[in-house]
């Protein structure tokens, strides 16, 4: 029908301006606005002012957006905004506030300059050839890329949009908006630039493939349903009886694109390389925020648009969930680099999250008072994201002459050198392993419960066994730090600035508080309710 409309020339009198709910979309607009101002500031401000100005701008933009989001949450807003393009509902607002908070922490980490002799983690001049004279001069003159801050704002804006997109096209645009800045950020490491650039290249190429899959899937779904909107596809599923081939192919291709971003097996191969190569603060940002946005996007598409065909895609997701947990936890065993190990751990965590997603325990689906999948996933993401950023922040502190000493053998005996750092890192690891009284445990409990409630108890059994394997490689690091002797050439532990300290402290606080009194956050996640359409 819409095709017919488009061929007619509309008389001017019939033209209706699109209705934009500026109030509800304000957090998004503020973030994107701040990003644009940041680009301008980069062009017009003198170099010595840029760092301060960019950090301040980014923080102000994020905090204002967060406050606006909180106001929306207080009002309990639930509506489809921007002519059906964006849904501002409970899960979206919960995701927004989580993303914004995490990004504030990330921006602080990006701005940290005290761990590496007064320089940030980012290359002075990305264009300078690694190891060249120009690079040395730039380092000596303390040149910095302050573009990272607007890039981050664009990324987080894209993530927020992605998590709330109610239309496949908007979703695709949002995906590109948050992916492109991430590709760039990955390649900007000051140390080990070749690995960093390789990571950016790999991420870009594989990301582009994944986007292509997603786009093709969107096209096929459009072909099936005749609409891009998630609600429209859902309606089509309820009424249409033909075109199943297109529906199934489209579902599969969309799943590829989304699971790539989530980091699920078999679309995970980029994760370890990119996590290892990217500047560590960026790794933390990606590990936490990308995972959140991608997961919520995944759930929105599959629950809202494709909920009617769940029997078609659930078996596929079962397999993906099992593969992700098994591969993530087993391959992590063989890792010798702390960043790669955390990368595989993030893959395993994606698997645990997928169990709740597949469990499909939704309000009103035979569950009276249980935990819903959406609630469990939202809660788990919070439990996972804060410690993750904290853990990566700690990784930036263990340094030798070549920058961060990320090889696990270099962490031997760290408990002797710096009991505090090793102790906190061990605590994060115990949290990731899901030991009770940490956030990791309550999070795991929530997703497993959601999975079981939806009848996916075999997944729960696989998940607990994988948790055991995962516990082994986390404990291995603890053994290394505390039960090994300190070698003579042990790396130094840099004295963190207040930015890194804040990030670690928040991660620690989240791990403890969510582990002991998870009630309030669970209630918040429960209040978020289901996705609307």
């Amino acid at each position: 029908m819409s095709a017919v409309l488009m061929t007619q020339v509309l008389p001017l009198a019939d033209f209706v301006a699109p209705k934009i709910e500026y109030n509800e979309l304000a957090p998004l607009l503020v973030v994107f606005g701040a990003a644009c101002v940041g680009v301008l500031a980069e062009a017009f401000l003198p170099r010595q002012l840029r760092h301060v100005a960019q950090v301040a701008l980014a923080l102000v933009g994020l905090v204002v957006a967060a406050v606006l989001t909180v106001l929306l949450m207080v009002d309990d807003k639930k509506l489809i905004a921007a002519q059906g393009a964006i849904s501002v509902d409970g899960p979206a607002l919960f995701t927004w506030i989580t993303l914004l908070t995490l990004t504030v922490i990330s921006v602080l980490l990006f701005a940290e300059r005290s761990v590496d002799g007064g320089l940030s983690a980012f290359a002075g001049q990305a264009a300078a050839v690694p190891g060249s004279e120009a690079e040395r001069e730039g380092t000596a003159a303390k040149v910095e890329h302050t573009e990272v801050f607007p890039l981050t704002l664009f990324a987080v804006g894209g993530m927020m949009l992605f998590a709330s997109a109610n239309d496949l096209l908007i979703m695709f645009v949002a995906l590109e908006v948050f992916s492109l800045p991430l590709y760039l950020l990955c390649g900007l490491a000051r140390r080990r630039r070749l690995i960093s650039q390789e990571a950016a290249m790999k991420y870009f190429l594989l990301g582009a493939f994944a986007s292509a899959f997603l786009l093709y899937g969107i096209a096929l779904l459009y072909g099936y349903a005749g609409t891009m909107s998630l609600g429209g596809i859902s309606d089509a599923l309820a009424t249409k009886t033909s075109g199943d081939a297109m529906l199934l192919a489209g579902t599969g291709l969309i799943a590829v694109g989304l699971l790539f971003k989530v980091g699920a097996v078999p679309f995970h191969s980029w994760t370890p390389d990119v996590y290892q190569g990217a500047p560590t603060p960026v790794t933390g940002f990606m590990a936490a925020c990308t995972k959140i946005a991608a997961f919520i996007g995944l759930m929105r598409v599959f629950y809202v648009a494709l909920g009617g065909s769940r029997w078609d895609w659930a078996p596929m997701m079962w397999i993906v969930a099992i593969l992700t947990m098994v591969v993530g936890s087993i391959v992590a065993l063989t890792q010798t680099d702390v960043k790669r190990m955390l990368a595989y751990s993030s893959i395993a965590h994606a698997g645990f999250l997928l169990t709740a997603f597949v469990g499909l325990s939704q309000a009103g689906s035979g569950v009276t008072n249980g935990i819903t999948s959406t609630q469990a996933v939202l809660f788990y993401l919070v439990c996972y994201a804060f410690p993750t950023i904290g853990a990566f922040a700690l990784v930036t502190l263990v340094r030798d002459a070549g920058g961060e000493a990320t090889h696990l053998s270099r962490w031997a005996g760290l408990g002797k050198k710096s009991p505090l750092l090793a102790g906190i890192f061990a605590f994060f690891l115990l949290g990731f392993a899901g030991i009770p009284l940490t956030a990791g445990f309550t999070g795991k409990w929530a997703v497993f419960t959601a999975a079981w409630t939806g009848g996916a108890w075999p997944l729960v059994v696989v998940a607990v066994l994988c948790s055991l394997v995962a516990a082994f490689f986390y404990v291995r690091v603890i053994v290394l730090m505390f039960f090994s002797d300190l070698p003579a050439d042990a790396p130094d532990v840099a004295l963190p600035g207040w930015q890194t300290t804040t990030a670690v402290a928040l991660g620690l606080a989240a791990t403890v508080v969510l582990g002991v009194v998870p009630g309030p956050v669970l209630a918040l996640a429960s209040r978020a309710g289901e996705f609307i359409r």
């Binding site: 009276t368 409990w445 505390f482 039960f483």
Partner: protein, 507 residues
């Protein structure tokens, strides 16, 4: 809000652990005294509770606060006859272990005060485990006990301590995580029947289908079987007990492993009575294998601490057998056994530790003729050993007898074969005593010092209790009885009637 008695008992050692850690490193002695002081206070408090429980019943000690509403989890504590016995055992063994291990932490990886602080933390968590009346709280504390024990083994043990600590942790986590699956399952069923709740009192009302009950039972039972430990999940215990300091081994075998058998009574029998009955044949056979296999392996050991660890595997076989015999005599015997085994194994481990620390070797072949140079040490060792082989007149005899008698009334063949375990027990203890203590004095033994006052003082209470309860076990049995009766009722079994009725004339 009024702070309950049990919360106080739980908090006291925890605070003690923090205070101990806060003492400056240079004042090692002060930190140890502080730790001992806190453990004695806890013991006093527990004694008050035990007396109160004996007089006024359990009602005074029940606490219940909502903890995580969405999970249906409560901070709920309470006592029954089985729980109070084990809480008392924990509070009793901790100061004894602290005193006996006064100098054992010197060669550790970390400061002495951290050894003492970890022990106090372990005490707090263990008391919580035995007092929890909410499955979620129990599970959380159950898993949390692994952390202090992991650091106690890994930080203060022998040469292979890291390996032993990791092995201990992974085995326990395997059991714990499978139990987590069952815990999650309980929630799901509870939520389907209305408001989710993890309170034991609510869970026993659940109507479980046969298959569900069996699967959930298996998850719990597996965790407890690893913990107890039963053959074939036992291999972590000899490694852990051999590498840890003697004090740590006492806590591990004396308290932590009891969580396994305690859990079988409270959760397996309490929550899944039908499945427990269904599993009885297999469990009894496994228990029997534990009794015999543990004893046989103990005879063949060349390392003193490994030998004692294997004797414990045999003893735990008896305990599990008594539990799953499902007779009131067997259950009472098992509960009493848990207490007595704590006393006798603690004595045996600690005296063995005294011996090993003097010679610097745990190999049996390195000793000989100790009784000539250190008669008091040899004497206490013999006493502890005799209690471990259940010599009549010492407390373990009564419990072992009750277990066997209780098993016999329902499963004759199993009880008859299990009696062989008693013979084997005599072998492993007496052969060890013979090799260590008698014969010509070996090189390196000549100058062995006898026990000093602190060492005697530390284990004296154990020896007194072993004799006391061996002669007059009634007070403990009286406390246990009601809990056993309610468990029996819950499972829906009654004691088989004796084949020869007691007639008027015989009364």
């Amino acid at each position: 809000m009024k702070i309950g008695w049990l919360t106080l008992t739980l908090l006291l050692p925890l605070v003690g652990a923090l205070v101990t850690m806060a003492v400056p490193k240079a004042k090692a002695l002060l930190s140890k005294q502080v730790a001992l002081g806190f453990s004695l206070l806890t013991l006093a408090l527990t004694a008050v509770i035990a007396v109160g429980y004996h007089q006024n019943g359990a009602a005074d000690y029940e606490e219940n606060h909502t903890w995580i509403e969405a999970f249906g989890a409560h901070y709920a504590l309470g006592l029954d006859g089985v729980g109070i016995v084990l809480v008392v055992l924990t509070a009793l063994l901790t100061p004894i272990v602290l005193l006996a291990s006064w100098n054992d932490a010197k060669s550790g990886r970390w400061s002495e005060k951290s050894f003492f602080a970890w022990i106090l933390a372990l005490e707090a968590l263990s008391i919580g485990v035995f007092a929890a009346t909410d499955v979620f709280l129990f599970y959380v504390l159950f898993e949390a006990t692994l952390i202090p024990m992991y650091f106690l083994i890994g930080g203060f043990g022998g040469a292979q301590r890291s390996y032993a600590a990791v092995k201990f942790l992974l085995y326990s986590l395997l059991g714990g995580l499978l139990m987590l699956a069952s815990v999650v399952g309980l929630y799901v069923i509870s939520a389907k029947n209305g408001d989710p709740s993890y309170l034991l009192a609510d869970l026993v009302k659940l109507d479980l289908s046969q298959n569900t009950e069996r699967w959930l039972f298996l998850g719990f039972f597996f965790a407890f079987a690893v913990k107890a430990p039963m053959v074939p999940f036992h291999t972590w215990l000899p490694d852990a007990a051999a590498e840890a300091t003697p004090g740590t081994s006492v806590l591990l075998v004396g308290i932590l492993d009891k969580i396994g058998t305690f859990g079988m009574i409270r959760f397996c029998l309490g929550l899944f009575p039908n499945a427990s009955e269904w599993a009885t044949p297999v469990v009894l056979v496994l228990a029997l294998i534990s009794v015999l296999y543990g004893a046989l392996l103990a005879i063949g050991q060349t390392d003193i601490k490994r030998l004692i660890a294997y004797t414990s595997i045999s003893h735990f076989g008896f305990i599990v057998m008594g539990i799953f015999a499902l007779t009131s005599q067997g259950l009472t015997g098992s509960t009493l056994y848990m207490f007595n085994h704590g006393l006798s194994t603690a004595a045996l481990f600690l005296v063995a530790g005294y011996l090993i620390s003097r010679r610097g070797s745990a190999r049996i072949a390195d000793y000989g003729g100790v009784e000539k140079v250190a008669p008091v040490l040899a004497g206490t060792f013999l006493f502890a050993g005799l209690s471990s082989l259940s010599l009549p007149g010492l407390s373990p005899f009564i419990s072992e007898f009750m277990v066997l008698a209780g098993t016999f009334s329902r499963h004759k063949v199993i009880a008859v074969i299990a009696v062989v375990g008693i013979v084997l027990a005599a072998l492993y203890i007496l052969i060890m005593y013979q090799r260590l203590m008698t014969g010509p004095v070996r090189d390196g033994i000549e100058k062995l010092k006898d026990l000093n006052f602190r060492e005697v003082f530390a284990i004296a209470p154990l020896l007194v209790l072993i004799v006391g309860l061996g002669v007059y076990p009634k007070p403990v049995v009286d406390i246990i009885k009601p809990a056993v009766e309610s468990t029996m009722q819950r499972v829906g079994v009654t004691d088989p009637a004796p084949q020869v009725p007691v007639t008027e004339g015989h009364k």
